[in-house]
Amino acid sequence: MSSTEVIGWFADIGLQDRPHVGGKGGSLGELQRAGIAVPPGFVVKTGAFERFIQALERKAPVRSVVESLKDVDLSVATTCCAQVRARVEAEELPPDVLDEIALAHAALCGGGAGAQTPVAVRSSATTEDAADASFAGLQDTYLWVTSLSQTLQKVRSCWASLYSVESVTYRRKRGLPEEGVAMAVVVQKMVDARTAGVMFTRSPLTGDRSVVTIEGSWGLGSAVVGGEVTPDRWVLGKITGDISVRDISEKLIQHVPLPTGGTEDVAVADDLRRAPCMSDAELQGLRAIARKVERHYGHPQDIEWAVERQTNEILLLQSRPETVWSSKEAAPVARPAADPLSHVMSIFGGKR
């Protein structure tokens, strides 16, 4: 299926499409282009949101109402946002948008009335400012969504999250116009993860770019990202592959999919609690992926990954630029010297 103004398949999109597919969607497309395995999927582009909002506006104003919430009492804003969100969640999709999403969903999941391949529905914000990281945290990800109607509902929920009181307050404080505010939504096949986690292509402790730091735990990655378990942690030499740190923790719970949709917390079996959730070979696989992704972007990355339960295939769910260390301006470690020998004075010359 080809991409349109409403739907963007991962294969057709990249980072440059962020205004229409959001950061998460653009990054998934970019990863696929770079030859990295990601769960297949598509993006419901901002064009779909725009048409939806237009339809909503025709019934009653949305954006002007939200824009008027500057300097109002928090309880007023809360009430108003709740009303807008309820409208977004309840509104039917315009027929042409609905058709396109349904077609794409059928292409991804097989369609029909029977059991369908579960998907994850994830909001993909288009904002680019420095607070993006925390802003993104306010948006939503829905796991193990098992039908088209549920998928459509979750797409609306993602859109509605734009009108959470936190998001709205954030925009009002910065005076961001509502006109450009839009949200893309990623719909991708759900990975039933045996193990999942995050990795940084540098050290979060020292900023060292020569290591890859990996954290993971049993089950879906939401337990790690949400801080509900203390994950296993490894530090690998990015170039050497040497594993210099192995912290295997006690992993008490894991997130697993519910057959009826959604996920639940279950206890980890006794014999797995203290067992490493990744083999050395898998860690090396992650390292290879980390290097490939970083090389593709030319910048250290913050990556979410999962290992498929049946196939043990490693898939990336997200990659975004690492921001904490990258924003620090470091003095050069050393400068070339006119006389290369003068470098030895750093050892012989005294400290100092």
Binding site: S203, L205, T206, G207, D208, R209, S210, V211, V235, G237, K238, I239, T240, D242, I243, S244, V245, R246, A330, P332, V333, A334, R335, P336, A337, D339, P340, L341, H343, V344, M345, S346, I347, F348, G349, G350, K351, R352
Partner: protein, 607 residues
């Protein structure tokens, strides 16, 4: 910075007791190395890296000659800006050393100016000077080989008389002895001619990497710099070659564990052409590559492979087994070289700017230029030359023993080199005037007393350091050669508090995690106790132990840094290794199950 509540420090030298009953043996060491007034004000540490066992009276020459030459190089030849030489003291057979730092900024500036005229010239002309060094070193070795065997005929040989030599044989005893010592002291000057400069250039690159990549392991930096064809790998390479030849010649069945080397050689001599052909191959390997001793060149009893073939022969059956199972024993030089290049380029790419990359290139290129010396000198100095030296002393021991001075030749090593000269003069005199020598009444009791003292000292624990802890350790020689930093002194001071922990920390020398039974090997003689699957736990590992790395699954040592040859060999064999633990041989009991995590530098006692 908060100040510690009380000044922390190690026991004062004056508080150390000579082990009761060994006072006379202690007094044998010259006054120059006895602790004395003023020594309490300085910081000293036990040089267990080079001197892990108590020194016999003669063997202390290895410290004397080495520090004489090290100090000359630092203080007078290259004028290192912040340090002079190293003082040494001996108590209970243990060698303590203390650096002599320069702290006055004006003096540092004056020495820096000199340093740049001297050391920089060496760096700039490294290859030429190193080539010249090899020639000097080979000449020195040939001179030592040419020294005559000390002998005293009953009558002066007629030929000498008719030739009108005019100098009798007894004079040549003293002449040869003095030349032997002279050559040994000279060898140490050659040893230090380049060494500190070489380490310094390496450490410059090392410090850069640590700053650019704070979590890089020492071993990774070492791998970026280490060469592939250093002389120190050759003895082991030759063993592999001999194993291959044994299989090719069809004489491999003659090599069995537990069969003495001499018996195997006899069997081969009697087994016709193939056996003799193999023995010829052995001869080509032995000269010069078996001139390697099983220690580090500081003890007379660390014999060379050439003098005691049991070590190399003990390794042959295992190598032969591997050849027969189709394994290639060749070190994959090309692959190792390619891996090194990948590392260098990989880390280079990670740097932030072209400016940093240019500095990196400058530093690593200097490190690569100097490193062949750092890796290569040991074979010539601590091994080949040192073997010749000790063997010549052994010849004097034989002669003296034959004249009743000692029970056996080895007893000579219980005399200091000053005393040994006296004994030789005694023998010369008695030979000349026809009276019996005085030595037979003098030395046997002293030798027995000193042998007993050494046995007591080896059981006696000695503190790792003495005296007040300096605020900073800014002596490049101390940091480079011994890895002594303020941080690890603090760790030593708090070592007692961690005594009940089952974890022992050291330097991560070669990564990998492995579990197995610990085999505590305190001296070379115990190597044969190692069985397949054991973890070697020793005071100091040595490059000549390389062949046993095929038997063990991991190595742990009390002493050594990530650039120690043991660490390099462990990486070559892909075995986990933790070095420089300080006290693994005393904390771990023989046979205990332990886990070695070579990537983190941690040894865990499991039971």
């Amino acid at each position: 910075m908060t100040q510690p509540a009380r000044p922390r420090g190690f026991p004062l030298p004056s508080s150390l007791q000579v082990v009761p009953g060994t006072e006379r043996a202690q007094a044998a060491y010259p006054y120059t190395v006895q602790f004395g007034p003023g020594d309490d004000d300085r910081f000293w540490f036990y040089n267990s890296m080079h001197f892990p066992e108590p020194m016999s009276a003669f063997d202390m020459v290895t410290a004397e000659a080495a520090y004489c030459a090290l100090g000359a190089s630092n203080t007078r030849v290259h004028s290192l800006p912040t340090t002079l030489g190293i003082d040494h003291r001996i108590i209970n057979g243990r060698v303590y050393i203390g650096g002599n730092a320069v702290t006055d900024p004006a003096e540092i500036a004056r020495r820096t100016e000199e340093f740049q005229k001297r050391a920089f010239y060496y760096y700039a002309n490294w290859e030429r000077l190193y080539e010249q060094w090899r020639e000097k070193m080979m000449k020195l070795i040939q001179d030592a080989q040419a020294l005559p065997k000390p002998e005293l005929p009953e009558f002066e040989p007629l030929a000498n008389v008719h030739a009108g030599r005019g100098v009798a044989s007894n004079h040549y005893l003293l002449d040869t002895y003095q030349k032997t010592l002279e050559g040994y002291f000279r060898m140490w000057h050659h040893h230090f001619e380049f060494l500190l400069l070489g380490y310094g250039a390496y450490l410059t690159f090392f410090a850069f990497c640590k700053k650019a990549f704070p979590e890089i392991t020492d071993q990774t930096i070492a791998r970026m710099v280490a060469g592939m064809e250093a002389e120190i790998f050759r003895p082991d390479d030759e063993l592999r070659r001999l194993a291959r030849r044994a299989v090719e010649l069809g004489v491999d069945a003659k090599f069995q564990q537990q069969v003495p080397a001499d018996d195997i050689i006899k069997t081969l001599q009697q087994s016709g052409e193939p056996g003799r052909a193999w023995l010829e191959e052995l001869e080509t390997s032995r000269h010069p590559w078996f001139n390697i001793n099983v220690g580090d060149g500081f003890y007379h009893y660390h014999r060379a492979w050439n003098d005691d073939l049991s070590m190399p022969f003990a390794c042959l059956p295992e190598y032969i087994k591997r050849v027969k199972s189709g394994e290639s024993l060749e070190r994959p030089i090309e692959r190792l070289r390619a891996e090194r290049q990948e590392l260098i380029e990989g880390y280079r790419d990670l740097l932030n700017t072209d400016e940093e990359r240019a500095a990196y290139d400058q530093m690593i290129s200097l490190a690569h230029r100097v490193f062949p010396y750092v890796e290569g000198h040991k074979f010539y100095c601590e091994h080949w030359y040192t073997n010749l030296f000790f063997n010549k002393i052994r010849e004097f021991g034989s002669l003296l023993a034959a004249h009743g001075f000692f029970e056996k030749a080895e007893d000579a090593f219980h005399l200091t080199h000053y005393e040994l000269e006296l004994a030789i003069v005694d023998l010369m005199t008695s030979w000349s005037n026809g009276s019996p020598p005085r030595g037979p009444a003098q030395w046997p009791n002293i030798v027995a007393e000193r042998r007993a003292a050494l046995a007591l000292w080896s059981k006696h624990e000695t503190p790792p350091a003495l005296g007040p802890v300096p605020d900073v350790i800014d002596d490049p020689a101390i940091v480079m050669l011994w890895g002594i930093t303020r941080e690890n002194l603090d760790a030593w001071l708090s070592a007692d508090s961690g005594a009940d922990s089952n974890e022992i920390k050291g330097f991560a020398a070669s990564s990998g995690v492995v579990e197995g039974p610990a085999r505590i090997v305190k001296s070379v003689e115990e190597i044969s106790r190692l069985k397949q699957g054991d973890i070697l736990v020793c005071q100091i590992t040595n490059p000549t132990w390389a062949p046993i790395f095929q038997t063990i699954v991991a190595a742990v040592s009390d002493i050594g840094g990530s650039m120690s040859h043991a660490a390099i060999v462990a990486r070559e064999y892909g075995l986990p290794a933790v070095v420089g633990t300080g006290n693994a041989t005393s904390r771990i009991k023989d046979g205990q199950r332990i886990r070695v995590d070579g990537g983190r530098g941690i040894v865990t006692i499991l039971q």
